[in-house]
């Protein structure tokens, strides 16, 4: 193998191509070098209020708002300057495709796809400079529309007795 390589490199034209190839690879930044796009995490929040039992007449009948969570899979870095998060959660019939950096440095794109592959109403959404250094926002949140049928399914299958779903929300944060 080495003798074959030596023989090839010994020819002037092949030597030129070999040198160009080596120089070209050497000029590319190594994977992870100059990495500026942080990893991202996606969390679904299921907001609800609970009807409280045993409240005195005239007292506040419902709890403070609270939420349960489901976490999307970790993001990957398919190429320099991008973070891509793809996946589903157990209690929503949607696929999430979240990309940071693919549409320009710092730009966050959120796609939510229904079971038949169509974008959910209002999506995709993009946010420029989503997590810019010095920016006030440490996370970005997106409201996920929920039909009455899906609401009932989540209340029955995920929440507890007397808990009423008020909103479903996607939170995207950097993991740093």
């Amino acid at each position: 193998m080495l003798s074959l390589l030596a023989a090839l490199v010994g020819r002037p034209l092949t030597r030129l191509i070999f040198c160009l190839a080596v120089c070209g690879f050497a000029s590319l930044p190594a994977q992870g070098e100059n990495e500026v796009t942080p990893a991202i995490v996606g969390v679904i929040r299921y907001h609800f209020r609970e009807r409280l039992e045993g409240v005195k007449p005239g007292g506040k009948q419902y709890s403070a708002p609270a939420y349960e969570t489901e976490t999307l899979p970790a993001s990957t870095a398919p190429s320099n300057g991008q973070q891509v998060l793809e996946g589903k959660v157990a209690h929503l019939p949607y696929k999430f495709v979240i990309n940071l950096g693919g549409k320009g440095a710092g730009t966050l794109e959120v796609k939510i796809l229904t079971a038949d592959g169509k974008p959910l109403r209002g999506y995709p959404k993009t946010v420029a400079n989503a997590f810019a250094q010095g920016a006030e926002a440490t996370s970005q949140d997106f409201e996920i529309p929920v039909t009455p049928g899906l609401r009932a399914k989540i209340e029955k299958g995920f929440l507890e007795k007397n808990q009423h779903l008020t909103q479903v929300q996607l939170i995207v944060q950097t993991s740093q």
């Binding site: 005239g58 506040k60 708002p65």
Partner: protein, 225 residues
């Protein structure tokens, strides 16, 4: 001798020898009770309201099912009370806490008064589940609390002012979050609908039966039954 009152999602709730109650949990955010009493935005308002609000209106429910604002009948299907011209945030809804405040003479305020409730935007307060309210001898609602962020050791005096769901532990007002360095939805359109911390890094110590004094204000102890 200390005893465990119960456990919610991995967090023990402990009644200590001195009668205080301790637990460690995350911190969700509660914007309830914010009605602009001290110049900050209200928690909820109709879509026609032009100013900022702390929470997204969906978290208060909707017509026929109002879970998070005061209504004219006191029932879910009543009509939300709208603040009038002489109230702090004319046009906004009235958001309630479980703890009720009296007027300056110590008399009860009407349910429609924005001043009857504890302002999440300016008062550090804690939300607790029924397990705690009903599980100790002392009065919990209105009692003193000390909330500490164990990541940065920031601590604040607070009042227990709202009731949470039975299966959730660890919820605080926006003012409390800001005081101890918990993300309080900075930069978000609706701060109470963002922020918070899920990691169990917040330590709570409650003192049932001891009225809270926060920023010079003494809060009333409010028995649950």
């Amino acid at each position: 001798m200390s005893r465990i009152i119960g456990n919610i999602k991995g967090s023990d709730i402990v009644e200590e020898d001195d009668g205080s109650v301790t637990f460690t949990a995350g911190a969700q955010l509660d914007g309830d009770g914010a009605n602009g009493q001290f110049g900050q935005p209200p928690c909820y308002a109709p879509k026609s309201y032009s100013g900022p609000t702390l929470d997204i209106l969906a978290n208060a429910g909707g017509p026929g099912d109002w879970y998070g604002v005061v209504t004219d009948t006191g029932e879910d299907d009543g009509r939300p009370i709208v603040q009038g011209a002489n109230d702090p945030c004319p046009g906004a809804y009235v958001s309630a806490t479980s703890l009720y405040l009296p007027d300056n003479d110590g008399k009860p305020l009407p349910s429609s008064s924005p001043f009857k409730y504890v302002d999440s935007a300016t008062v550090p307060f804690v939300v607790v589940p029924p397990m705690i309210i009903n599980g100790v001898a002392g009065v919990v609602m209105g009692c003193r609390a000390v909330v500490t962020n164990t990541k940065n050791n920031k601590s604040v005096e607070a009042v227990v002012a709202d009731g949470g769901p039975r299966n959730k532990l660890g919820e605080i007002s926006l003012a409390c979050a800001k005081a101890i360095g918990v993300p309080a939805g900075e930069g978000a359109k609706h701060p109470a609908n963002s922020g918070g911390v899920d990691a169990h890094i917040i330590h709570y110590q409650l003192f049932p039966g001891t009225a809270a004094v926060v920023n010079g204000v003494t809060y009333p102890l409010q028995p649950s039954s």
